[in-house]
């Protein structure tokens, strides 16, 4: 569904016409009418198209399985956000393959880069996923009563996990214009807090953005990069990293290095997946779905 179509769809339901949905979908629709929301979206991450190792010899197949799961959701998300590392080595052919697969999503797609998407240069990433409203890569928007920020913390040449002064300035000005009661949702590839610095799982200047987020009633920060689900709450800010669609990585500090983690083939789908998020007033409901059926 194109974004314009979706907005028309929302207007139609907002007019009080009952949705012909089943189960949770109908419940959500009713709550939406009562609260002026909610908005639901899906996060996917770390597809590493081009990866070809025993940890997952079919990253195309697992991404396709992910898309099939999302397309089969009874209520289609407002959008799907891919939080980076779409490709393994930022090769144009890898972007082409990824774009082709992601193009089969029914919902509109937002893609932000991971460090694997900008090796040497971000040119191939921008060629594949440039947005006219995000000339530098980062942008914000309002949707469904929430305020969204899509950030890029992989553009620094020598440091993964850095936003840079220009982007932080953008974030501070952007947030200054928001009411503290507005739910805020932030996307970035590398975790914005110090999740595990010895493996680079942190954003060097993330604390400045977190400081600007403190005054809000409810903030949800969603990241990728570490190929596993880690949830963490710090005051008003709820952090959650996502599973990969390609292969898992070890839990922080449980291995000598953060390389790909080999799990038995029969277990692989259980550690890959996607995440649905529903934002209603001040509450974010996060549900992780594995590819295991």
């Amino acid at each position: 569904m194109k974004r314009d179509d979706f907005l028309k769809h929302v207007a139609w339901t907002g007019g009080g016409i009952a949705w012909s949905l089943t189960g949770g979908g109908l419940f959500n629709a009713q709550r939406a009418l009562a609260a002026g929301g909610p908005i639901s979206f899906v996060q996917i991450s770390d597809s590493h198209i081009g990866f070809a190792r025993p940890e997952n010899l079919d990253v195309i197949g697992t991404l396709e399985k992910t898309i099939a799961g999302i397309n089969a959701m009874p209520v289609q998300p407002t959008f799907v956000v891919h939080t980076g590392d779409v490709t393994h080595l930022a090769k144009p052919a890898q972007f082409d393959t990824a774009k082709q697969i992601l193009g089969t999503l029914k919902a509109p797609l937002i893609v932000l880069p991971g460090e694997h998407d900008v090796i040497g240069t971000p040119a191939a990433f921008f060629e594949a996923f440039r947005r006219s409203d995000a000339p530098k890569g980062w942008f914000s928007w309002d949707q469904g009563g929430a305020h969204f920020l899509s950030l890029v913390n992989v553009f620094n040449f020598e440091i993964d996990g850095k936003l840079g002064a220009e982007q932080i300035d953008f974030v501070e000005k952007d947030l200054a214009a928001q009411k503290s009661s507005t739910p805020i949702v932030v996307f970035a590839h590398v975790p914005l807090y110090a999740l595990f610095p010895p493996w680079g799982w942190t954003t060097e200047d993330g604390s400045r953005v977190l400081a600007a987020l403190r005054r809000f009633d409810a903030v949800t920060v969603l990241n990728g990069h570490i190929h596993q689900i880690v949830q963490h709450t710090d005051g008003n800010i709820r952090f959650a990293t996502a599973a990969s669609t390609a292969y898992p990585q070890p839990a922080p500090g449980t291995a000598a290095k953060p390389g790909p983690l080999k799990v038995p083939d029969s277990k692989l789908l259980s550690v890959l997946g996607y995440r649905s998020v529903e934002i209603a007033r001040s509450a974010a409901t996060i549900t992780d779905h594995s590819l295991q059926t």
Partner: protein, 113 residues
């Protein structure tokens, strides 16, 4: 992992019609393994060629901080060579894992014997 495996990797990823890059003679080889460059410090002379081989299970790069050379992404078994044409100390790192650091010192060309 031996050189034969590295060459095989190039053949497989280069496509059926791509020429197989010949491995030119090099004075030294830096192996990338367990998120480290080995050796982490190396001294060569102007004109010397150095081979870098990724023996790790993760992709890495060989990228100089002064941007004078960059392997771009090297997948497992990936290999890259560079000829050093100027004296100096070249600090390099992995763009994907920037805490991986190493250095190569390039001395004036060795006098002919």
């Amino acid at each position: 992992m031996g050189l034969q495996t590295a060459l095989l990797g190039i053949v497989l990823t280069g496509g059926a019609h791509a020429a197989v890059p010949a491995l030119l003679p090099a004075v030294a080889t830096v192996h990338i393994k367990d998120f480290k460059y080995n050796p982490p410090a190396l001294t060569v002379h102007v004109g010397d060629r150095v081979t870098f081989v990724n023996d790790d299970d993760e992709a890495h790069t060989v990228t100089s901080i002064d941007k004078s050379f960059d392997s771009e992404g090297l997948d497992t078994t990936g290999m890259w060579q560079h000829v050093f044409s100027k004296t100096g100390t070249y600090h390099y790192f992995c763009e994907l894992h920037p805490y991986m650091k190493a250095a190569i010192v390039v001395l004036p060309a060795a006098p002919a014997k």
